[in-house]
């Protein structure tokens, strides 16, 4: 008894339905190819980290863990990882401290030149990193502040500040002002309202900003390459310099560990924010 239903459809409608099906298939394939393209270099790095040979050939002739072993024998990478993590933590802390306050002034304050000020505070995003890097190199050299992690922490805090301000400001916009005003009317001072009322409500946003700032700081090359001098190399710079000389899968083994590390960080954010803030990053 299904036959009549089919006959009702005109040839044009059938053609259109077929075209729509083809379109769906093409678009779905495009999406999968896009995701594949995006993940391909990361996937190949993981595969190569288990290669048995030092040269690039696909597929690798055999599997081994020798590059992980080789990596363990290179303490410079371990030290650079720890250094990068400490720098990223300190720079993130500094930027969060400055940035949360700044975002609050930008969202809640009413003053002339606010847009100009916002543009200024966000401008490090568009400034070419290599230009900033040379600027800091000359600046810290003039101050006699060379080597160690302090110049790197200070430089990275400026690089990540715009990210912190943007995310925290976006989180502040959605808050109910009435809560803060009620607290103020009941006699709470501005710092108290900030600490007891505002901050607890934007905890997830601050965490997201912090994780992003950490990742951005951890990834700095151009802005930092003139501030490092061997003794204080950060991890990406240590890797960059290693890659300029050798291209064996030791870097692949290290990269694989970093991919796992990044995945763990994302997991923390997803769990802590129960996905709410990540969904805000990807609006429908």
């Amino acid at each position: 008894m299904t036959a009549p239903a089919v006959q009702v459809r005109s040839p044009v409608a059938v053609q259109e339905a077929r075209a729509a099906a083809v379109r769906d298939a093409v678009l779905r394939t495009t999406l999968l190819l896009g995701v594949g393209f995006v993940l391909l270099p990361l996937a190949i790095v993981v595969v190569y980290s288990f290669s048995s040979v030092p040269y690039g050939v696909f597929p690798p002739p055999g599997l081994s863990l020798r590059w992980y072993g080789h990596l363990l024998g290179l303490p410079a990478f371990r030290a650079a990882f720890a250094r990068s993590a400490v720098i990223a933590l300190l720079a993130t802390g500094l930027a969060l401290g400055i940035g949360v306050l700044g975002a609050l002034a930008l969202v809640r304050g009413r003053f002339r030149g606010k847009e100009l000020l916002r543009g200024f505070l966000l401008s490090p995003i568009v400034m070419p990193k290599i230009v900033l890097g040379v600027g800091w190199f000359i600046f810290f050299a003039r101050l006699g502040l060379q080597g160690g992690i302090l110049p790197l922490v200070l430089a990275h805090s400026i690089v990540v500040l715009p990210f912190v301000i943007t995310i925290v400001a976006a989180n502040l916009v959605g808050l109910d002002v009435a809560l803060e005003e009620a607290a103020q009317d009941l006699g709470a001072s501005t710092p108290t309202v900030l600490w007891r009322i505002v901050l607890p409500q934007i905890r997830a946003g601050v965490l997201t900003a912090g994780v992003l700032a950490f990742i951005v700081s951890f990834d700095q090359v151009e802005s930092s390459i003139f501030l490092t001098r061997g003794e204080n190399n950060t991890l990406p710079i240590e890797m960059f310099l290693y890659m300029e000389k050798w291209q064996d899968p030791t870097i692949a083994a290290l990269s694989t560990l970093l991919i796992v590390f990044a995945a763990a960080l994302v997991g923390v954010v997803l769990l802590a924010g129960r996905g709410a803030d990540v969904r805000r990053l990807f609006p429908r």
Partner: protein
């Protein structure tokens, strides 16, 4: 919360102080060097436009500028050409919210991994016996391996990959805010899929495309790691000039190169913002 003038000032003070000392002053100290000259291995602290004159009368400078702009334009074009259909498919062809969030996270995920790692991935993929050449030969597209490393091709492929998430997300988010009724209205009035897309979806998502172009172009223009590791000596772009000049202690020339790089970025920001203002908003 009502903030008094003093409170606003107090909240802004740490940020402004940090930006003044650690951003404005270093950039100023750096750019002041462009008015000095580099002679016989030393920087002479004289005030002159000589370094600018030398830079803009050297044909090599224009070659580098042209190469930088061309590379950034090609990469931006490719990233948008791939990113648009991917964003469109993600927005219109994936119904389940969870699946969509997962796919969005996967598309975003390379940004969580160092640019050095991603560039290294392409170094492996594009090698003469790497996956790309092996696959192309297996399919029979080529007989001899293509030379994809240490020339512009490899840099273009790798930079396109690096820029892709920045192209996808602005388009994706504008598309999400698009009023579906507009498209349905067009279809109800007899427009086919293509007409509806061409006259409704595409023009209304142009703000996302322009925003993506802005991010991709400025980031590609200032990219250093990828041209350096995958470009060999052939891909000479502005950030590499800034780097080389600085290494040679020729800060004056480096400062001029840096200013040219900054001016090109600003010009792109200004031009694309002007385009953005003239587009219909969703």
């Amino acid at each position: 919360m009502k903030l008094s003038g003093t409170a606003v000032l107090g909240l802004l003070a740490p940020g402004l102080a940090a930006m003044a000392v650690l951003y404005v002053v270093p950039l100023g100290v750096y750019f002041v060097n462009s008015f000095h000259v580099f002679r016989d291995g030393r920087i002479l602290p004289v005030w002159t436009f000589q370094t600018y004159l030398d830079y803009f009368t050297d044909p090599f400078s224009y070659k580098v500028i042209a190469e930088s702009v061309r590379l950034s334009l090609v990469v931006t074009g490719l990233a948008l050409a791939i990113g648009y259909p991917v964003a469109y498919a993600l927005q219109t062809r994936v119904r389940a919210t969870g699946t969509r969030a997962l796919l969005a996270l996967l598309l975003f995920s390379p940004l969580l991994v160092s640019v050095v790692v991603r560039t290294y991935g392409w170094l492996i993929l594009l090698a003469s016996q790497g996956l790309v050449n092996t696959a192309l030969r297996a399919v029979g597209v080529i007989d001899e391996p293509l030379s994809l490393l240490f020339n512009t091709r490899g840099v273009v492929i790798s930079l396109t990959h690096i820029m892709l998430p920045f192209a996808i997300f602005p388009i994706y988010s504008v598309m999400g805010r698009l009023d579906r009724d507009l498209k349905d209205a067009a279809t109800d009035l007899g427009a086919g899929w293509w007409e509806a897309f061409r006259h409704v979806t595409l023009p209304l998502t142009m703000p996302g495309v322009v925003a993506g172009a802005l991010i991709c172009f400025t980031l590609a223009l200032s990219a250093f790691v990828t041209p350096r590791l995958l470009g060999g000596g052939r891909v000479q772009v502005l950030p590499r000039m800034v780097y080389n000049n600085t290494v040679e202690i020729n800060w004056p020339a480096g400062a001029v190169s840096g200013l040219v790089l900054l001016a090109l970025s600003m010009a792109a920001v200004w031009a694309l913002n002007a385009v953005l203002r003239r587009l219909p908003s969703v």
